[in-house]
């Protein structure tokens, strides 16, 4: 509106396309448009790109290439992980299993689990006996002791995200996998690494997980591209039926340029990881410390040491996030309140609620997420705009 400067601080929602990714993708929307399932030279060229992308994605996660199922994004990958494994169990004549997940999972996991429990995912042959939610501590990290208490031989699937999308808390995935191996050896361990992939080394951060979800656009890749990556051979029934692409696990002509973009974005993020993580963490520190100092009644939701470097989740006492976001938008600061629902309204955060934050406090929260394009000037702009906006709202 009136803003002349724009500070984009919503990288957890989507990160701008990296130039090298755009460059890598370009030929597959253009000259090399062939269908990778065909047999002629243009088809073979597309197939080559697809398989190279598959290998690159597999390598960045630490999995064999045949474990990669390209999807339309993180949500589909999560759905395939939950519903696909549950459906495969029933296909194999196994009884309905129990699903265990953390209370702060992304809606893509929670809603898929809910659909399986309600039986509304029957169309895919997916169902489960029960969903158990593991509580989290005040920083949003899963409570391992409580989680252990939910495990048993009846558990079919355990899903704990690598890092939380709203508050950025890094989860102890390797420790979760350890617990599962001991108490529920038959269970599949899934982790949604959509947010973590930018900043964490996936083989390490997701060690022990059987299935890993990634999404390109959070990494500076294109929207509409993601993958579910299996580290070992896990039976997965398809949710999308057709020509049997992706080894029958996901039919439909592959999004070749999207897959190339996902691979390029993962590679690019990995190459810049250390430098970016340090730089972004330092800017995040400036932003958080600056706002804590300048805006009275500001609370940092999570201990910074436990989060991804780009997340800055603050609560401004007595301010409503919906109002603050409107003013920040006017002032050219793009931030968010957490997860948005289909209508565009802000949903009451199940993450903050699980962390023990009361509803009124939760409504005062704003998530600033920094990324590879964030500069000192962006932080300076936010440090000027946010105190002014909060002051206006507090009248």
């Amino acid at each position: 509106m009136t803003a002349t400067r724009l500070a984009y601080l919503d990288h957890a929602a989507s990160s701008p396309l990296r130039p090298e990714v755009a460059e890598a993708m370009a030929p597959y929307g253009d000259d090399w448009f062939g269908n990778p399932s065909g047999s002629h030279r243009l088809a073979r060229r597309a197939r080559l790109a697809l398989e190279e992308a598959r290998e690159a994605v597999a390598a960045s996660v630490g999995a064999p290439p045949e474990g990669v199922v390209f999807t339309s994004g993180g949500t589909e990958a999560d759905n395939l992980a939950v519903l696909g494994t549950l459906a495969a169990r029933l296909d194999h004549g196994l009884p309905h299993g129990v699903v265990v997940c953390s209370a702060v999972e992304h809606a893509a996991v929670l809603e898929a689990c809910g659909a399986a429990a309600r039986g509304s995912a029957r169309v895919f042959g997916a169902a489960c006996a029960e969903v158990r939610e593991a509580p989290v501590d005040a920083d949003g990290a899963v409570d391992l002791e409580a989680l252990a208490g939910l495990l048993g031989p009846e558990v079919a699937l355990v899903s704990v995200m690598t890092a939380n999308n709203e508050v950025g808390t890094i989860q102890p995935v390797a420790a979760v996998a350890e617990l599962v191996r001991r108490a529920a050896p038959g269970a599949v361990v899934h982790t949604d690494a959509v947010q973590a992939a930018t900043y964490l080394d996936l083989p390490e951060a997701t060690a022990g997980a059987d299935l890993v979800s990634v999404s390109a656009h959070k990494l500076g890749g294109p929207k509409g591209s993601g993958a579910l990556v299996a580290r070992r051979e896990v039976p997965i029934a398809p949710l999308v039926f057709g020509g049997g692409q992706e080894r029958g696990r996901r039919s439909g002509t592959q999004n070749v340029s999207g897959a190339v973009g996902l691979a390029a974005a993962l590679e690019s993020a990995a190459r810049c990881r250390q430098a970016d993580a340090e730089r972004v963490a330092s800017l995040r520190g400036e932003l958080a410390d600056g706002l804590l100092a300048r805006v009275p009644g500001t609370v940092e939701s999570v201990d910074r040491a436990r989060t991804l470097p780009g997340h800055c989740h603050l609560r401004f006492a007595g301010v409503e996030q919906e109002e603050l976001l409107v003013l920040l938008d006017d002032l050219g600061v793009c931030a968010s309140g957490g997860a948005a629902c289909a209508s565009g309204a802000l949903k009451a955060s199940h993450v903050l609620s699980a962390m023990g934050v009361g509803p009124a406090d939760a409504r005062s929260a704003v998530r600033f997420t920094l990324g590879y394009t964030t500069t000192e000037a962006d932080v300076a702009h936010a440090l000027a705009a946010v105190p002014a906006a909060v002051a206006q709202l507090r009248g």
Partner: protein
């Protein structure tokens, strides 16, 4: 002027936004998400939000979605259920206007730096001086700077659901379509190519799904009780109803005919005693309607005792001549002619007899 337009996704608020933008104001649209349930009608569905957002895009204005579901549940839905449990008949649209649109949203608009809030209601806000007809009996020139007037399209007038507004609210309110007929509104929307141009008017309570209805909605939220139906004059049991909580004073449906074959009206609902009282047309009349203590509001200065007014007791009812009275500390309207009984919980809107378009104030039937 900076104006926040409450855009429901309907044609009236779409055109309200368009008119303000055309007039050169800085306009921002906002759609309220008011109900988390799966209502398919009214102002709460994703489809309506999509319509509002698309219209805002077409007009080139910013658009936000505000989630006021908690406030709406507490200020509108819960009291709606509680009123039915007590045998009253609330008007949730009026309570939404009172507590949400012209309180919560109006405050928000002010905090966000907007000069005014606009809605698509068919009513008008005008400076009082401009309209005061000479020699008007009730006219008190110092009483009000602003008047709330009926919309020019009599059939679509919505001043009744705004009748509880006062000067503070009117001063920050813009009602751009009140000066147009509905046909003009639709024509303007069509000319602008807005996708809401042909959208039907919303009719129902927005948080109640068409397929569940009021009965289905309430049945899930409170215990419904059968009741005996008793004739007012004879005191005799004449029938029964399955759910006393769903019966409204003034209703004719479902309570049968009298022995003379004439229709009967509900004149009282006593949920506690599980009794519905009915009467024939000559007995089902009232002269006096008491107003709930603390429910009376005035557009301008309070009317003096004994002042003459026109009282309207439903959204599209006829306004009938009455006198405003206070007896034993209780405000009431006393009609010149007998009226059908007014259900407790309904709003009684008062209009100016010398300027029948002008709202004077409102109260809620006790």
């Amino acid at each position: 002027m900076r104006v926040l337009v409450a855009m429901s996704g309907g044609v009236d608020s779409s055109v309200a936004a368009a008119l303000l933008a055309e007039a050169g104001h800085e306009v921002v649209g906002a759609t309220l998400k008011l109900w988390g349930g799966s209502s398919d009608s009214g102002c709460c569905s994703v489809a309506d939000v999509d319509d509002a957002r698309r219209v805002a895009q077409q007009l080139g204005i910013a658009h936000h979605v505000f989630d006021l579901t908690d406030d709406f549940a507490a200020a509108v839905v819960e009291p709606y259920v509680a009123a039915h449990a007590a045998g009253r008949t609330p008007n949730p649209c009026i309570e939404c206007n009172r507590h949400i649109k012209f309180a919560r949203l109006l405050d928000r608009a002010r905090r966000l730096g907007f000069d005014k809030l606009a809605t698509g209601h068919h009513a008008r806000v005008e400076p009082a001086a401009r309209r005061a007809p000479s020699g008007a009996r009730n006219r008190r020139p110092d009483a009000a700077a602003l008047q709330l007037l009926r919309g020019v399209d009599g059939a679509k007038d919505q001043s009744y659901v705004l009748s509880m507004l006062g000067q503070d609210q009117l001063a920050r309110l813009a009602l751009p379509v009140g000066a147009l007929t509905k046909a003009e509104v639709r024509a303007r929307a069509a000319r602008l190519g807005l996708r809401t141009a042909g959208k039907p008017d919303s009719q129902d309570v927005c948080f109640i799904r068409r397929d569940e209805g009021r009965r289905g909605f309430l049945a899930g939220r409170l215990e419904l009780h059968p009741a005996e139906v008793v004739d007012l004059r004879s005191g005799r049991l004449v029938g029964s109803v399955p759910e006393a909580e769903l019966v409204t004073v003034g209703q004719r449906r479902g309570v049968g005919h009298g022995p003379d074959g004439r229709r009967r009206y509900v004149v009282a609902v006593d949920v506690r005693r599980r009794r519905v009282t009915v009467a024939g047309p000559e007995d089902a009349v009232v002269r006096r309607v008491a107003l709930a203590p603390g429910s009376v509001t005035w557009v301008g200065a309070p009317l003096p005792l004994g002042a003459r007014a026109l009282a309207q007791v439903s959204a599209h009812g006829r306004a009938a001549p009455c006198t405003v009275a206070v007896r034993r500390g209780e405000a009431a309207v006393e009609f010149d002619e007998p009226q059908r009984p007014v259900a407790p919980g309904q709003t009684v809107a008062l209009y100016d007899p010398s300027d029948p378009d002008a709202v004077l104030g409102a109260g809620v039937a006790a």
